[in-house]
Amino acid sequence: MDSVAADAAMAGPGAGPAIYFDGLSSRRQAVVVTFKEQLEISGEGLSPVALSPVSLAPVSWAYSDIRRVDGGPGILRVACLSAPSLARLEIRDAALATELVSRCTQLGESHLGGRGVAKIVGWSLAATISIVAVVLFAIPLVADRLAPLVPESFERRLGDAADLQVKTIFGDRICNDPAGKAAFSKLVDTLRKSVDLDINVESSVLSTPIPNAFALPGGRVYLLNGLLAKADNPDEIAGVLAHELGHLKHRDSVREMIYNGGTSFLIGLLFGDVTGSSAVIFASRSLVTSSYSRDAEQNADSFAIDVMEKLGRSPKPMGELLFRVTGKEGNKALSILASHPLTEDRLKRMSDADRPAGGQPLLTATEWAALKSICGSGAKT
């Protein structure tokens, strides 16, 4: 330190040694900086440390153009707006650096100050609010508007694609009892006819203990044997199938696809990189999408009630079947997280719509028995 200070003193007040890179080559030039009107950088003259083999034409930098850039520890490294963008001046002597700092009015902070951080936080909050608003309001609206515009042929293609996956997964577990199949087709076609859906695609019962049923875009219906085993009469199954067809009629699958796709894409991409945040994203997304699908479920239930009434049957058995499958749900799960309305609420709605069956039974007793044993004598569930 002493020798450097001595050098500066020798160079006279207001001057001192520095290292200069001209930004045009990597040549390291020992220079003398002199504080005049402007900062003068010269490679010749007083300094005993002027080592550069090629003498440097004097350069002067206006103090107001000088900006601080990153240097190593204990080094003041500056650039100049009016010089080549990578020209650098390095001052390693603390006193000289202080002198330069005091003269440069717009040296700038090397790092973000509190105000810059506040700005980023503010903009991020604004962006978050806007994204949340888009997810909550804009995407459902877009999904509602877009779903009817999606051509039915495309929807059928989606159904075909999904059907291939179902067949790949359950391929060997499609129940094939001929009498049962005939009964199932009769039931499904009665329902599909009453709601104007394509009756030319095949529907099946799958041999799996899971109590559920689903319908694919285009009108294919799959019933899982677990549900069939728990059912006591055709109306129970018919109600559930009508509910699934209601989803198709309302084009819920397309809507939900647009909605889920849009939401996850937005949230996933924007908040991307915070390691592990995907779990939080997933959680917040499932909150949103489940409330969305609860609306859809409610509508599908209404649809099922209408269809059953149109066929002259009571919707109540469907509610009873669901109740038999899930049991009482209240208190068990956070209702805000559930994708379906609570079963007891659904049962209540369907019981309210109960009326004595006026129409033809949907299946005869023999057909019903055949359907029940479609997966082979009812032993396997």
Partner: protein, 380 residues
């Protein structure tokens, strides 16, 4: 150190020049901790600023031949690059979706090959992101830069990847060497062209036994960190020792055991923090059920407990705290400490070749970084 910098740098500069890392660990910790907190507050948007700050810290404390490097990239560039990448990725994702529906209709799960397309795109992004970082690296007033094509690189990466897949990983060293050759051949410091002299065979000779023993690490999993640390150290050493810029060559003396401590400390912190989080959840959950006992008393089975709302909130807070601290720990060990250890064991031969290099090359756009961010890929 100050004095040494003023000593003449004349030839003969025959002895190799060491690389020094002068960064203070405490400074880096504060940087990472503050950044992690801000990342939480800004739901992740601060990542552009944090990444930039970390690079500036690492670059400006890496001293080669008495002069510290400089990182001239700025967070706003990354943000803009990210937004552009987003605008390009949206239609790509849409097209991806439509094509995958068609493919699935043709045959179940036939859309799987499309994933390969995204992998290729990821490789492209890696190349372009490297280009961005390199053109923002300045030493002695001259920037590094890169040409070459991201797609040509992605193509090579794919073919070599296929070969590595077919040979269950045996071809990986050659893949790495070939890709590194491509990258370095297209890298420049001013008008000094880079090249890579490491060979796949060399890397293979150093690591084959690790490849053979890797199934053992699955059975005896405490061995895995050792294996990984050993592999990483050998890989780094091989990689650095192969780098050339004109007449300047790098040589790494990184000991093969260099990372053992790092990985174990990292694992220790992971376990400590996870345990702390578990205790935190348990205690708070217990207190909460005590306070709101009336609500839950009638159905206080474990299943219902895990689904009560206050606990979900407490859990989320604990989870975020855990993620934050893990983030800091990972940055500290895997970025800062690895960087420090690797640079301190590196030497440069023939530095005089870089004494008077003419500046060339322009800064590249940050679009590549944006893609890499959007696709969640990372690479050197």
């Amino acid at each position: 150190m100050n004095q040494a910098s003023f000593v003449p740098q004349h030839p003969p500069a025959l002895p190799p020049v060491p690389v020094a890392f002068s960064g203070n660990r405490g400074d880096f910790f504060r940087l990472a901790a503050r950044g992690a907190a801000l990342e939480l507050v800004t739901v992740g948007f601060y990542r552009f600023w944090l990444v930039t700050d970390i690079r500036r810290h690492l670059w400006s404390h890496t001293v080669v031949d008495g002069d510290a490097a400089e990182y001239t990239g700025r967070a706003k560039e990354l943000l803009i690059g990210f937004l552009f990448a987003l605008a390009i990725l949206v239609p790509i994702y849409l097209a991806y979706f439509l094509i995958s529906v068609e493919a699935e209709r043709y045959k179940a799960f036939a859309s799987f090959p499309l994933v390969v397309g995204f992998y290729a795109f990821g490789q492209f992004a890696i190349y372009r992101a490297r280009r961005y970082r390199l053109t923002r690296t300045v030493w002695r007033g001259v920037r590094f830069w890169m040409d070459g094509s991201g797609w040509a690189y992605a193509w090579r990466a794919m073919l070599w990847g296929l070969l590595a897949f077919l040979t269950i990983g045996l071809a990986l060293p050659w893949r790495e060497a070939a890709l590194e050759r491509y990258k370095m051949r297209h890298s420049y410091y001013g008008d000094l062209q880079g090249s890579f002299e490491g060979s796949g065979w060399e890397l293979f000779k150093r690591c084959w036994w690790l490849w053979l023993l890797s199934p053992l690490a699955i059975v005896l999993f405490p061995l895995a960190p050792f294996f990984y640390a050993e592999f990483k150290a050998r890989e780094w050493r091989w990689w650095l020792s192969g780098i050339r810029f004109g007449g300047v060559s790098l040589e790494s003396a990184l000991p093969r055991t260099a990372f053992y401590g790092l990985y174990w400390k990292l694992i220790g912190w992971f376990m400590l923090l996870s345990t702390a989080m578990g205790i935190f959840i348990a205690v708070l959950g217990f207190l909460l059920t005590k306070m709101t006992g009336a609500d839950l008393a009638d159905s206080a089975t474990p299943v219902t407990l895990s689904q009560s709302l206050p606990l979900v909130i407490v859990g989320a807070i604990g989870y975020l705290a855990l993620i934050l601290s893990l983030n800091v720990v990972m940055r500290l060990y895997l970025q800062r400490d690895v960087w420090a250890r690797v640079s301190e064991t590196t030497q440069l031969h023939g530095i005089e070749a870089a004494a008077n290099v003419a500046a060339r090359g322009d800064p590249a756009s940050a679009l590549g970084e944006g893609f890499a961010d959007g696709l969640d890929v990372a690479g050197f």
